[in-house]
Point group: C2
Chain length 263, copies 2
Amino acid sequence: MSQPKYRQIASELRGQIVSGALREGDRLPTEPQLQERYGVSRNTVRDATALLVHEGLVQRVPGRAGGMIVRKTASLTFHAHRAEMPAQPMAETDAWRSEVEAQGYEASQDFFLMIQSLSPDLAERLHVEPDSDAVLRRCVRYVNGQASSLQDTYYPMDLAEMVRELLSSKDVPQGTTRLLAERGYEQTAYYDEYVSRMPTPEEANLLGLQPGTPILLHIRTGYTEQRPVRVSFNVFAGDRNQIVATHGDVRIIARFRPEEAAR
Amino acid sequence: MSQPKYRQIASELRGQIVSGALREGDRLPTEPQLQERYGVSRNTVRDATALLVHEGLVQRVPGRAGGMIVRKTASLTFHAHRAEMPAQPMAETDAWRSEVEAQGYEASQDFFLMIQSLSPDLAERLHVEPDSDAVLRRCVRYVNGQASSLQDTYYPMDLAEMVRELLSSKDVPQGTTRLLAERGYEQTAYYDEYVSRMPTPEEANLLGLQPGTPILLHIRTGYTEQRPVRVSFNVFAGDRNQIVATHGDVRIIARFRPEEAAR
DNA sequence: CAGTGGTCTAGACCACGCG
DNA sequence: GCGTGGTCTAGACCACTGG
């Protein structure tokens, strides 16, 4: 029945956060203050606050003016469909940019192009031979100068040879989905997977993730009538993003969620 | 540049895991062995392994025959659409059950019914007054006897009074979506949100989550032509579930993913 | 019983960054 | 300078559980 001390301390602090006694951005008591208040050693205090850190509730900030502060949960909404439908007049990247800006933030992105040998898993998704080559187009997306998500899209090499723009390290002005459609590779079916997991150290580094921040992974495989033509891995910082998808008559939803009417 | 000791140790162990030198279910060296090997104190060893635990890679098991073992990443696939489309002959719960069983697991569930006053957030989603009552139907779903996900669905009270079966603490045989459709409340639009976050202690307890396990949250608001009629919160243990949604012509996808043909 | 991890103490020195 | 958190040590006792 009796909880260990560090859990009791964590519970009490957590209660103050979820009840609103401590608000976003507020500072928790310092470690010496918590030692004093609960009559425990510093390590016990740290065990307690480590729990809160790994729950994503609290962030530790070193330095004289630092401390432990209650994290913010600002969330950017990403629409899984807006950027994708061939009928759309807008390129993917522009769709993402306009979405971010419509939500009042500043958007920018970095682009990379690589040629990679396909892992068995990826080869199966693209229905090509393992170890065959693919074009990897990576896009790191920044919101207010802070890395927020990244997108890795793989195209089979034989397709890239038919649509040479995919091999250019420049942005495709009209968006790759439209480009492919113009060349006769219109994607008419999507297979979407959603996964939640902890980041690899590399992802945590790329996205500047605090401890206790999971990632939201959206994997989209796009099919023409004939074959899969690409697979995209969208890696979102879980504390700063959510994904929205709609089905059926969007006009009904727009009546109750005006922000959805935006197109 | 120099990494702290505990990170170096964690990196080395992580490398053995991701490279496959240590496989799922394998035991890591014990804490005394790691102290010896790296010449550090026990706390430093624990700091190192705590990192791996919170990355979801490793699970600690107390007891004589315990140790630290590499976690499994078995993943159940949940189709966001199968259970929902009014054309489906199958009830929601049965759809879930058959999906689990088709993947070779054993399925069971517990059901609860509660009446709750709506928070402002929920009231807005359902487009009713804050503090008005709603029916909450909770379903805890078990796979192989282990809690795997839970679903909380809220219906506005005025709707439940028109469709009294919603107030019964028994399962609705044909599924609530079909029931509502039969009574003239056919859902023709969905608003789906996907979120990744760390669990609350309550969720961790309900789902038996190990430290370092995030949850995948799927929020679905269902609309008839007239209004929102329900909002469902699907809480999935991130280490054991993924969600799949398809768009467009499913037959194309089925050609390359035979398991999708199962409907 | 013996060996695993779980909790806790009382110290120490360091890196950082505002005043 | 000096107070914050970051890292690390060397101990201690406990709870659990298979042999």
